[in-house]
Point group: C2
Chain length 251, copies 2
């Protein structure tokens, strides 16, 4: 599937020491993955990188050459540790300028007595960027080339992604169908391999877990072909029946 | 800090379509980050990659050359989509063999009537690997070179990491101290920059968030030098007082 013309790919770059230190749990990856798939864009890789200029620049340049779309989260606020914009500008070899529309949006949102240079820094974007509106707190994101720069705070990121989604040119949407069973992976394995071989254009995933100390397995069939997914899924249900297993609720 | 001899670095490679599709929320990153820091190893990058052989091999080879330690999660179960071991072996240019101790552990754990080839596949490791015991479900992880291969299921991953931690040679441990305030980032920014400049060997992070629609800011000082952290933290508390702000509980 990877190189068929209808597969449009994306990479998410999560910028921030707070994720790498374990202090903050990322909440953007899963949201982005689901929303992108709805418009036919497949999240194919995620990088979590620290607030280190050389790492951010290298990562952005490597990834923007490899994937159709890049999304970044984090590092576009008003404080000294917000270095994403400076890095993106360097990655593209352009200067940073204060965007008049962004400044206008910030001045309309921020009470006049709070306007200061730190807050106005949030109107600075790489030359050649197009703004992404921020309906939550005014400070915009932006697009440059195939790179979409968003805030890290989840509700702001979600608002920005809402602005971005209609602008993306997606390919096939991946449909999925899943079932959870009390049959263990190791018991299912041979039958599953046979089903996977009969449906080579679907991806069949097998995910073990524990519920109250008992092993369970969730089986997920994914592909752009809903009919093939359904057939493979029906065969999996039949396999579970043959193995005297039960379909159970996904925990 | 990045190249001082006492900084020992790590990279986590999360292998699995289920994370990239948004179906499953990763629960291993934050746990690993905190536990590694306790033994003086700093998590510096995370990659989330799909179950695609070429991507896994490239990622492992790129990262094992760049960081002191590599950890992988996912893809070492008994089903067709568990391709991590085959990929790690190819990345190191070695064959896969059935490890006698691993087979023994599996046969001791699995009821005889359930022993099958799929389950025994979990005893297959790259030649030259050292096993990592799995006290939860017997099927081991392994270490080859600087790469630690672990299960993706969180309680199994945690058990394996418990075996690994005493074997790591860590450097400095990063201490952190933090405070949350109702003063907004944009108001703190100038004072924070000055404090960061006075404590160049600490990393001062500023993390905005919303609680009941009101903006708050958490300020984190991190470095190996607890005394410097405390001084910088005291100056941050003084800055908050000067700005007539309140210290509040972290949500």
């Amino acid at each position: 599937m990877e190189h068929t013309p209808t597969t449009v790919t994306a990479c998410l770059i999560i910028i921030g020491n707070e994720i790498l230190s374990g202090r903050t749990q990322d909440k953007n990856l899963a949201y982005l993955a689901v929303k992108l798939n709805e418009v036919g864009v497949q999240l194919r890789e995620v990088r979590v990188v620290p607030d280190v200029e050389s790492t951010i620049i290298e990562t952005v340049n490597e990834c923007r050459a490899k994937f159709n779309y890049i999304f970044t989260t984090g590092g576009i606020g008003p404080t000294h540790d917000d270095i994403t914009t400076a890095c993106i500008a360097k990655a593209f070899g352009v200067a940073v300028h204060r965007h008049p529309e962004a400044e206008k949006a910030l001045r309309a949102y921020i009470p006049p007595e709070r306007i200061n240079e730190a807050r106005l820094k949030m109107a600075d974007v790489p030359v050649g960027s197009t703004l992404i509106a921020n309906s939550v707190s005014a400070a915009p994101g932006y697009v440059i080339g195939n790179v979409h720069v968003m805030a890290g705070v989840p509700n702001i990121m979600q608002a920005m992604l809402g602005e971005i989604l209609p602008t993306l040119r997606g390919g096939s949407t991946v449909e999925s169908v899943s079932v959870t069973t009390d049959v263990l992976e190791g018991t299912l394995a041979d039958g599953l391999t046979a089903i996977q071989n009969r449906y080579p254009h679907t991806d069949i995933g097998s995910y073990p877990n524990f519920v109250n100390g008992k092993g369970i397995t969730t089986l997920v069939v994914r592909s752009a072909d809903a009919a093939a997914n359904k057939s493979a899924h029906d065969e999996i249900l039949e396999l579970i029946r043959k193995l005297a297993g039960n379909v159970i609720e996904r925990p």
